[in-house]
Symmetry: C2
Subunit: 154 residues, 2 copies
DNA sequence: GCTTGAGCTAAAGTTAGCTTTAGGAATTAT
DNA sequence: ATAATTCCTAAAGCTAACTTTAGCTCAAGC
């Protein structure tokens, strides 16, 4: 009962490399909205492969699922997104990314100033500007960019 | 019983802006190691203000506490760190940071290529190179891009 | 000397992003 | 027609980085 344009969760998992459980979780988070067949099983569209690929890429850049859902919300709801639709949101995405990289670079440059004075003290240090990098408020894990960027051990 | 060079956890909290509970947690994680007074209360050194300041900065850059503990381990254990000591580890730190920024920039450039083709598909997209940015941490076996190959069925 | 604020510990709760487990039901393969 | 997969749901578990709560002790001010 697998129509041309419909795929099962297992197939989607294989095509994206995601775990089946992860895809189900993404559904609860509103990142995909599959239909159900007569037996109650999820039927995804082929275009969901691209959709979830986007999710994975965005995560690699450090975006949260909430943020990603927002971005995906800019895709047309009433039809399957075209290449042009994806191009548009990828461009917005790139702009945010540029800002993130710049913020990080500014922060790094400030660290340079502090290496000079060796202070690292709250009283004087330029590093304590709250506007630097979007500071993740509240409890829970706070990660923006991968922690172990490159470990020297390799 | 507050000696010249010793401060209470409350004072340390005020000086760093951290919550008292956060400082206690950092102790369990081996990021600070205060002594105790006769009554069992923690007595920190003034130099711990700088130490925790470093922790906060490193977190702002997205480093995990585990990673930060490692970095702090390069400070001398037997004496209070000098400005020069801090300068040395800040430099190492900067190097890692540079790599992080570069990895992110490389990834962004690849996104540019994909905006061109609008593909965002696992089969073709350059974004799925496992060497890009260190894969996300988190729980359990997560086949993110690169951890476990994207199966050969193609 | 008594009250009040600061500290202490251990344990449980929180958020994000999932995975694992348990116990069935639907599909697919033989 | 079975057997073997795959899928389903709900609930619990896990990591990181903390906070909150409960119940008690210590220290400081009047």
């Amino acid at each position: 009962m697998q129509r041309r344009n419909e795929i099962s969760i297992g197939t989607l998992a294989n095509r994206t490399g995601l775990a089946v459980s992860a895809i189900r979780y993404y559904e609860t988070q509103g990142l995909v909205a599959p239909e159900r067949n007569a037996g109650g099983q999820r039927r995804f569209l082929r275009s969901d492969i691209r959709r979830l690929s986007f999710v994975m890429i965005a995560q690699k850049f450090g975006f949260t699922l909430d943020r990603i859902r927002e971005v995906l919300g800019r895709l047309p709801q009433n039809r399957t997104p075209t290449a042009k639709d994806w191009r548009l949101i990828s461009q917005d995405f790139r702009a945010e990314l540029d800002e993130q990289i710049e913020a990080l670079t500014r922060l790094r440059d400030k660290l340079d100033g502090c290496i000079g004075c060796g202070c690292l003290s709250l009283d004087r240090c330029a590093l304590y500007n709250p506007d630097d990098v979007a500071s993740n408020k509240g409890t829970g894990p706070r990660y923006l960019l991968g922690d172990e960027a490159v470990r020297p051990e390799g």
